[in-house]
């Protein structure tokens, strides 16, 4: 069983209210109502997206950072239309308009189907709800860009949300661990005969992950920033309950008290308790 992978950090969350207010998010084309900054607002509605105005043409969306930053994970939220399409992630310390030298972090064709796979899979992993996630070796840059090849006649790229940031390997969860604990959201009626009628229903994951840290140092290293800081501030966070099964990744926000008590002896092992509720789950 792989460890729990967490991604709350997002270099594309810029501007007022974003994680990185000084980051500048832009795209090659930004028609009104589908501006580039929308990919960092975590709104999962398919009508809140960034897209191009020209069909069947290459298109990029880019974040120019306020300083050199490191990143190792990307998530394309559901609602994109890149399944089966080719794109690459680029990172540069040279000209931030990518007119000079840059690193191609990866160049892939997104899978069209959901298959089980580890988060480090070369092609990334399409999740059970249609998002796509991939972790890659750490890169640094002053700017990062998603570059999408021409997609075919009359087709324009559509991105609802994009995460590029530093994912952390939080460690192993305490067992027993339920990856799929959930609740059902719907308007329902139950008659005297026991018949239950429901309107449209949504299965929403809800639960608690308790992670055993390998040392108290691990808390200071990453948990305090990503979990207690970002996630604690209500920032949506991608949770991969098992890094070997990245297809089960989901987006969640905090739901209750997030805590990280020290272990026995003060500086011994620590745990972090992450109560979560799935954020804008996909309805049935």
């Amino acid at each position: 069983m792989g460890g729990v992978i967490l991604l709350a950090d997002n270099l594309f969350s810029g501007g007022i209210g974003g994680q990185y207010p000084a980051h500048i998010i832009s795209a090659e084309e930004e028609p009104a109502g589908t501006e580039a900054w929308r990919v960092g607002n975590a709104r999962r509605s398919p009508i809140d997206k960034a897209t191009a105005s020209t069909a069947n043409s290459t298109w990029w969306i880019r974040s120019v950072l306020d300083r050199v930053r490191a990143h190792n994970c990307i998530v394309l939220d559901r609602g994109h239309n890149l399944a089966g399409k080719t794109f690459e992630l680029r990172s540069t310390n040279d000209a931030t308009d990518f007119s000079a030298t840059f690193e191609t972090v990866f160049d892939v064709t997104m899978p069209s189907v959901t298959m089980p796979g580890p988060i480090d899979n070369g092609l990334g992993v399409r999740t059970e709800e249609g998002a796509w996630i991939k972790r890659y070796p750490l890169r640094t840059g002053k700017a990062v860009e998603l570059f999408i090849d021409a997609m075919g006649a009359n087709v324009k790229p559509e991105i609802v949300n994009l995460w590029v940031g530093l994912a952390i390997d939080a460690g192993q969860p305490y067992l027993p661990h339920d990856q799929d604990s959930h609740e059902l959201l719907s308007v329902s009626v139950e008659t005297e005969s026991g018949w239950i009628g429901r309107a449209r229903r949504t299965r929403r994951r809800r639960g608690v992950i308790t992670i055993k840290l390998t040392s108290y140092a691990a808390y200071e290293e990453q948990i305090r920033y990503h979990v207690m800081g970002l996630f604690g501030d209500g920032v949506p966070m991608w949770i991969v309950p098992d890094g070997d099964q990245a297809e089960r990744a989901f987006l969640a926000v905090r739901d209750g008290v997030v805590s990280a008590p020290l272990g026995v002896g003060g500086y011994g092992y620590a745990t972090v308790t992450i109560p979560f509720v799935e954020f804008s789950p996909k309805p049935f």
Binding site: D9, G18, Q19, Y20, P21, R67, V68, R69, A70, H71, N93, D94, A95, T96, A100, T101, E103, P137, L138, R139, T140, K142, G165, L166, Y216, A217, Y219, E220, E221, Q222, R224, Y225, G229, L230, D233, Y267
Partner: protein, 436 residues
């Protein structure tokens, strides 16, 4: 004893990028002021001339004032897995045409073909072809040195058909090779050997695309003379002619004893500004432990422009006391910690006898009684402990609330690839700090 996390005051360097996504440890989100340390990093290049090596070994360029994260193979497995912050002094590339070998002289029928794949990911490299077994074909370019003495040279090479090539710093006025070296390929790896002259041959460094960077120095250079860099694509032992090819790119000559990272000249931009990195340090003098883990770039003797290169200094930029400095002592060729409280100065040196490319770990401590002590090890070997200084008085404040990393003022630059810098309150040992 484990160093408590509450004792850690600062973490910085390449490993911090891996753990925290930025160069200096942050525990609070940016939008909550998590990066308000007064950190200032500059490399005031006039253009995009600086370069670094990515994790695949490819050469990349960096804009002015952009910190470079270069990757090193610290465990010798051939994989560049360790991110390190490049901290280098100011340098100029004295070769006016480092990539355009078409502008170099042509002799002995050498054939120069451009448009070859280069380590920057472009096609600016050249294939140098010696087609004539009766002549020692070569290409050369003159350069102007500043001041007499030892000069550093470097070149990117990729194996062609030649089993053996040569390159040299030739003094046309004195008609002598200051340092001529042979490049012999063994299992795809270039091996350097001195043919004539003197200087240092530095370890070769692998790059992506089967490229290698070679570096060497030449002693006894007379700046006023006509100095030229020669490349002989094919030469047997004894300077006899041969046939064969060699790929070449990025020639560099520097007024220094060791080569620095590649500088791509562009018009008037001929040099790279120094990497300067400072943070605010709003703490008084106290018991401290400084752990510095880096790859040494300067070797064999730390000859500097002036002063001793700084790994770190607490206090004002200069020699204003009270201050604490961890530096390379050019007089003793040692890594030294110094604490000067204003009345007394205490030092503790340790001589690890490093060579270029060595992985160095230093543990420098300042005790509550003002005494300093240094220990260190090279390439994970035996820890060498320096003699601690005598007691001193901890002042009420540093001469300035300033921490300088890898630099001090305008001249004292570390020339290291910094893997990790950790400052903790209290006194700890090197193994304890290395565990962090």
């Amino acid at each position: 004893m484990t160093v408590p996390r509450s004792a850690i005051l600062l973490e910085a360097g390449g490993r911090t990028y891996e753990r925290h996504g930025v160069a200096v440890r942050r525990l609070v989100p940016v939008y909550r002021g998590g990066e308000d340390w007064g950190e200032v990093f500059t490399r005031a290049d006039a253009g995009t001339i600086a370069s670094y090596v990515d994790r695949e070994g490819y050469l990349r360029r960096a804009l002015a004032n952009v910190q470079r994260l270069t990757y090193e193979d610290l465990d010798g497995d051939g994989v560049r897995e360790a991110a390190c912050v490049a901290l280098e002094a100011q340098r100029d590339n004295l070769i006016t045409e480092p990539e355009n070998f078409g502008a170099w002289s042509t002799s002995g029928g050498i054939i120069k073909t451009g448009g070859q794949a280069d380590p920057l990911g472009g096609t600016a490299a050249y294939l140098l072809d010696d087609p004539d077994v009766a002549q020692l074909s070569n290409t050369a370019l003159a350069f102007t040195a500043t001041g007499d003495g030892e000069k550093a040279l470097s070149l990117f090479v990729r194996q062609g058909s030649s089993a053996r090539s040569e390159t040299s710093l030739w003094d046309q006025t004195a008609t002598t090779h200051r340092h001529r070296i042979a490049i012999t390929w063994s299992g795809g790896v270039p091996v350097l050997a001195t043919v004539t002259g003197s200087g240092t041959r530095y370890p070769v460094s692998r790059r992506g695309g089967s490229w290698w960077r070679i570096g060497w120095s030449a002693t006894g250079v007379v700046a006023a003379n006509d100095n030229r860099v020669f490349i002989y694509p094919a030469a047997t032992a004894g300077a006899a002619a041969d046939t064969g090819t060699l790929y070449a790119f990025g020639a560099q000559a520097e007024d220094a004893t060791f080569p620095s990272s590649y500088m791509k000249r562009a018009g008037a931009v001929v040099g790279r500004a120094p990497d300067t990195w400072t943070l605010s340090w709003p703490r008084p003098p106290e018991a401290l432990t400084i752990y510095a883990h880096f790859v040494e770039l300067a070797q064999p003797t730390w000859v500097t422009i002036s002063g001793s290169p700084r790994i770190l200094q607490l206090g004002a930029s200069g020699d204003t006391d009270p201050r604490l400095a961890v530096y390379k002592d050019v007089a003793t060729d040692s890594y030294t910690i110094l604490y000067d409280g204003g009345t007394l100065t205490g030092t503790s040196p340790v001589d690890l006898n490093p060579v270029r490319g060595d992985r160095i770990e230093l543990c420098a401590t300042l005790a509550t009684n003002g005494a300093v002590a240094m220990s260190g090890r090279k390439n994970g070997g035996t820890i060498v402990a320096g003699t601690p200084s005598g007691a001193n008085t901890l002042g009420a404040a540093w001469s300035a609330q300033l921490l300088s990393i890898g630099c001090l003022g305008a001249t004292r630059y570390a020339d290291v690839h910094l893997r990790s810098l950790i400052i903790a309150s209290g006194v700890y040992t090197l193994p304890e700090m290395a565990e962090l």
